[in-house]
Symmetry: C2
Subunit: 330 residues, 2 copies
């Protein structure tokens, strides 16, 4: 493969599937040179969510151009437990990247208060995200490039035509930025192999898929801070216990619907939310089957949640397949 080919939007037929550390290192070398050539002495801006794609992209660009890369991590309050901390630890310390951490929790949650319609919630989250990112970008001088963790399925899905699908919502001034998309010809499994070769931690490289609006779609209905916090804590327990299993499901998480039921604590009535456990397997997310969780795992999750998570008095298991259910609740 040549550097020329790396810049195109079509994966060359000759390109070998990256399955080994050797192939990954070869790709990393080639891509490092390509990024250096493209960027020169320019500055690259990148929105770093902490997901696999943006993380590998950031690590690659950082390896190539060091402090010329500036990453912006927007904490919208809808991240999972420990995620913002991990991003800061891995990129701010381990990779010593130029990292701007933006605590936008209040801004997101204030704007989401009282909004129960799923579509409106998603739009608000998307819009504020763009706003916050654009505001941060405006503060940084001399940026000419935008790093993006586009991967090959993204390009295939947009028929190879609309490869800029991630920046559709960006303001005019940012649309002029030249894109740096070092993993755009890779499939997901290759992105992981490359990430591992770059030294990213397993918990980042093998991270399960997480929706853009984050916990927002799992704090069903109008998000409140207390219920969101209960969801975040419960979700951490669900993940920890399920990760003790010999084989992990494709996706596993908690949902907290906006409903309370009666419970009893210390002899008194204790109204609380139910925590819903969801664990599914799928190939393409178009259909999905529920993962058969052992009763002992379910009980371990239940007992930890009910003894530690404030405001919860019931644990349920959503063992529905897609269809008729969907993977997420909204």
């Amino acid at each position: 493969m040549t550097k020329q080919e790396l810049n195109g939007n079509v994966r060359p037929e000759s390109m070998e599937r990256i399955t080994t550390p050797e192939l990954a290192r070869e790709f990393i070398e080639l891509q490092t040179e390509a990024i250096r050539e493209q960027v020169g002495k320019g500055r690259v801006l990148l929105a770093l969510s902490g997901g696999v794609d943006s993380s590998v992209c950031a690590a690659l660009i950082s390896r190539a151009i060091g402090k010329q890369l500036c990453c912006v991590h927007v904490n919208h309050g809808l991240l999972r437990k420990g995620e913002p901390e991990q991003v800061c630890r891995v990129f701010g310390e381990q990779f010593d990247v130029n990292l701007i951490y933006v605590d936008a929790v209040d801004r997101f949650l204030d704007n989401l208060a009282g909004v129960s319609d799923p579509e409106r919630k998603r739009k608000i989250i998307g819009k504020i995200f763009i706003d916050v990112f654009a505001e941060e970008a405006a503060k940084i001088e001399g940026v000419g490039f935008l790093g993006q963790g586009t991967i090959y399925p993204d390009i295939l899905e947009s028929d190879g035509v609309k490869s800029h699908h991630n920046v559709g919502g960006l303001p005019e001034n940012m649309r002029d930025f030249e894109l740096v998309e070092p993993v755009k010809l890779l499939y997901k499994d290759e992105v992981r192999v490359v990430g591992k070769a770059l030294g990213l931690p397993d918990s980042m490289v093998y991270r399960q898929p997480f929706p853009g609006p984050g916990l927002g779609v799992r704090c069903v209905g109008a998000i409140t801070r207390d219920r969101l916090e209960a969801l975040r804590e419960a979700d951490a327990v669900v993940r920890e216990e399920i990760e003790k299993l010999p084989a992990r499901p494709w996706q596993y998480f908690a949902v907290v619907p906006d409903i309370k039921s009666t419970g009893i604590k210390d002899g008194k009535r204790y109204m609380g939310w139910p925590v819903v456990i969801r664990a599914i397997n799928t190939v393409d997310a178009v259909t999905a089957t529920t993962a058969e969780l052992p009763f002992s795992t379910l009980c371990a999750i239940r007992d930890r949640i009910l003894s530690t998570v404030e405001g919860v008095n019931r644990v349920l298991w959503d063992f529905s397949d897609k269809p008729v259910s969907t993977i997420e609740w909204e």
Copy 2:
């Protein structure tokens, strides 16, 4: 035991536990005579819910005084699938009892419309029940007695003092009725043995406990007719599938909370309620543990519900213990 002792509110120490058909028949003979002596040529009115206690009570009184007994079955719309039909079949046909079936479904559901507070729901159901029963009673002439399925634990719970605990809400004119309580010295297990000896069907005699406000407390929040219907259908599936197990839990039922989530049907978005499966074991209902349902049973329930019950797109299993959860959701 003497007929005299049968009339008191204290179970004689000499009274043998009724565990066999022989002992049951002995009790039935004695009680038949006692009822005949008490009632003479009078008329007895009885609110027949279809539960074990009122059913055995009705069967006993009917055996003693035939058409002098008048049963009123109030269908409040919150009964389980097939229950009103069973009451009519067993008592109207098999026992050939004087049975007044009151279809009060609209009256109950109209009054419950929009009411989401559990306490208010219970009060409305209780109040309308008394009203309907009193109205029916007023239409019948010459009633001097009120049959009641009081059992011994009811008397023990009220310290032996307030044995009329079930009629506290009755209007003045009915409080003058003399009570006929033929099973008031029996424990629940004895009531069942007597019921079986009287020829009541197993599905009635071994019926699991069912709350007074019926499905009302399981159609969580403000009851709507469509959600109540979904609950009734789903509950029937839960009961049928769980009754295929070698050992039945103490109580098992469905709950449908007032919340919708996204689903997909025929390629289109399909918003629907979740059905919650609940199955618990307990000795005294003060504490309870979840029954470990086999995954195959859970899946059988889920698949039947999702393919037949309108408006449902998700099935959950509530496997929480009491405490911190309660058996019912409200």
